[in-house]
């Protein structure tokens, strides 16, 4: 019966009044706010995921280093300790060297990072792309650097900063990598430790060890154990500590977007309350007539809530579908961004189902509360 009554009450009236148009505006308001919040949440999740993944994939979970470097026996000792104290891990020693690369815009400072290339996919789960028909030793250029040099498969020139600006040398290009984070993809060259040592005459000991755990959830426990065991001898940092400022910024981002979304949703709900109240007032005579015909106050209250939830649910539902469609468009087609400003080349989106469910549930709950409130106001007034 509720469905039958609600359908009739919500049906198109022959005469469109100003009230009906206000109702339509309120309905559309809630619809667009729902769409906006879905898109905002998707972009927020997307940007957090891009930054987090890029940082996490480029930097390992735990970094152990010493200003004088780590000797082979020390690396072995750390590896042995990790074997006993983790559920699985991969580690790579690293060394850095700075070079200058000539580009159309002048010399660009680039960091060459030597890693254990055999472990590259395990320790650095970036997007790796090998050059066709390449064999032997070579360097992997960040995607943006590769693009800016217009490198095509063979070599690229560089100047070894330590040997003077006049000495121009070249390195073979083994391929390229992509972290998704513009800064990394533009400023880094990765190569095998042995090649780095040979090319730039570096010392045999690594500067530090990067460790990727198979189960990231044991990060804090493992870091604490490492600190207990090796804390007096080496510096130990986790990725959280390394990227503290970035994650603080992301947290601030999230807080701001959440606050703005909450405010917008609350304004939409106030608008929706106005809509329901107007709707109920317009139909007050009919609702009270139903009461006279035997519909109890509770039944009338249920009908009002049913009507409110139907309208609110339809508005939130349609808005969510519209928002999801736009997110799908952003995912498939995308909107370009200036990567030198935003560090990503297009608007990142990622849908976290729990957020969508939480938003839709919250919005429906607010619609329910709004309908209850509007219904209570109506039922208090007994004048027909």
């Amino acid at each position: 019966m509720m469905l039958f009554l609600a359908k009739r009450f919500l049906g198109q009236k022959n005469e469109r009044s100003v009230r009906s148009q206000i109702m339509l505006i309120s309905f559309l308001g809630l619809l667009f706010v729902s769409a906006f919040v879905i898109v905002a949440l998707a972009i927020l999740s997307g940007s957090q995921k891009v930054y987090r993944d890029a940082v996490l994939n480029f930097n390992a979970h735990i970094l152990i280093f010493h200003q004088d470097g780590l000797y082979e026996h020390e690396v072995k000792s750390i590896n042995a300790f990790l074997l006993e104290n983790t559920q699985g891990f991969h580690a790579s020693g690293y060394q850095y060297h700075e070079i200058l690369v000539p580009t159309k815009l002048g010399l660009k400072p680039v960091i060459v990072k030597g890693i254990e290339l055999a472990q590259k996919k395990e320790v650095y789960p970036l997007s790796w792309q090998e050059e066709k028909n390449f064999s032997g030793d070579g360097a992997y250029l960040g995607k943006e650097l590769y693009r800016s040099l217009q490198a095509r498969g063979e070599t690229f020139s560089y100047i070894n900063a330590k040997e003077g600006l006049s000495l121009k040398q070249s390195l073979r290009i083994a391929g390229q990598f992509e972290s998704g984070y513009f800064d990394f993809d533009e400023r880094f060259v990765l190569m095998d430790l042995a090649l780095l040592r040979k090319t730039f005459s570096k010392a045999q000991q690594v500067e530090g060890l990067e460790i990727r755990l198979n189960h990231v959830e044991e990060l804090d426990v493992v870091a604490e154990a490492l600190w207990q065991k090796f804390g007096d001898d080496f510096e130990i940092q986790t990725w959280k500590e390394l990227n503290h400022s970035l994650f603080e910024a992301l947290k601030l981002d999230r807080t701001v977007v959440f606050s703005v979304s909450l405010l917008v949703v609350m304004i939409a709900c106030l608008n929706f309350f106005g809509f329901l109240f107007l709707f109920f007032m317009e139909r007050r005579r009919e609702f009270l007539l139903l009461n006279r015909l035997g519909l109890s106050k509770q039944g009338l209250g249920r009908l009002l809530v049913f009507v409110g939830l139907s309208v609110g649910g339809a508005s939130v539902g349609l808005g969510s579908v519209l928002g999801l469609a736009f997110v799908f468009y952003l995912h498939k087609v995308g909107i370009a961004l200036d990567p030198t400003v935003y560090f990503v080349d297009r608007v990142p989106v990622f849908l976290e189902p729990i957020w969508i469910v939480a938003f839709v549930s919250g919005a429906l709950l607010l619609c329910w509360l709004t309908a209850q409130l509007a219904g209570m106001v109506l039922l208090k007034d007994k004048k027909a």
């Binding site: 009739r8 009919e286 139903l290 015909l293 035997g294």
Partner: protein, 227 residues
């Protein structure tokens, strides 16, 4: 039996207390019909609203078939309206967004009757009041007389034992008013329900088994018509 004892209704107006109904008492046997007349403001509609539970009295008691109508919970009141009480309003008060058929079957739907069955019963009642052809039309698409007949069908469809009619012929022309009044009396007689009808037509009131004249909220005259 409808029993009203010392019924009073006062309300505040512009800071003063106004008495709409004062110390009204009467008894009406089951199946009887009462016509209530009086000038505007005499308390006729207030009496009907109190009998129907639409307003609460300031004092007094109303019992119908030994049930105290003033001591019912919201659920009991709703049940009473669904099963035992039929309302017929002056300006028909049909729901504009529902067809004539849907309006008539509304009390049955509210009472929990399945829709198919309610539709069939409503069609029978539309036949009884002579407007079967208007079933699918909306209230605005039918005449005033047809609207009032639909309101009568709606008020009686659930076979109530107490029917309250507030000037059911008040907005009809003389010919139509007479037809509607006769129809209401006949149907009510068939049902065996107790009828309380507020009317401006003294002629109509005199044709019922009892006639009450209200003045300034008090019973000025009570007459039992022996047919």
């Amino acid at each position: 039996m409808l029993k009203v004892q010392n019924l009073s209704k006062k309300f505040a107006q512009h800071g003063a207390t106004v008495s709409a109904l004062s110390d009204v008492s009467f008894e009406l046997p089951a199946g009887a019909s009462l016509g209530v007349t009086g000038e505007s403001g005499a308390g006729k509609s207030t009496l009907l609203n109190l009998l129907g539970g639409l307003e609460k009295p300031s004092a007094g008691q109303i019992t119908f078939n030994d049930r105290d109508l003033l001591r019912m919970t919201d659920q009991e009141e709703a049940k009473f309206r669904q099963q035992d009480l039929g309302f017929i309003f002056q300006f028909h008060q049909l729901l504009e967004d529902f067809s004539v058929l849907e309006n008539v079957m509304m009390p049955l739907l509210i009472g929990g009757t399945p829709r198919q069955q309610a539709e069939e019963t409503a069609q029978i009642w539309l036949d009884k009041v002579g407007i079967a052809h208007t079933a699918k039309r909306f209230p605005k698409e039918v005449s005033g007389g047809e609207q009032q007949r639909a309101a009568i069908a709606r008020g009686l469809i659930h076979r109530p034992c107490l029917v309250l009619a507030d000037e059911p012929t008040g907005n009809l022309d003389e010919g139509n008013a007479d037809h509607v009044f006769e129809l209401l009396c006949d149907l009510n007689h068939d049902l065996g329900a107790t009828l309380v009808m507020v009317t401006h037509h003294a002629d109509f009131a005199k044709r019922l088994t009892h006639h009450m004249v209200l003045r300034d909220g008090q019973i000025k005259n009570w007459q039992t018509n022996l047919k």
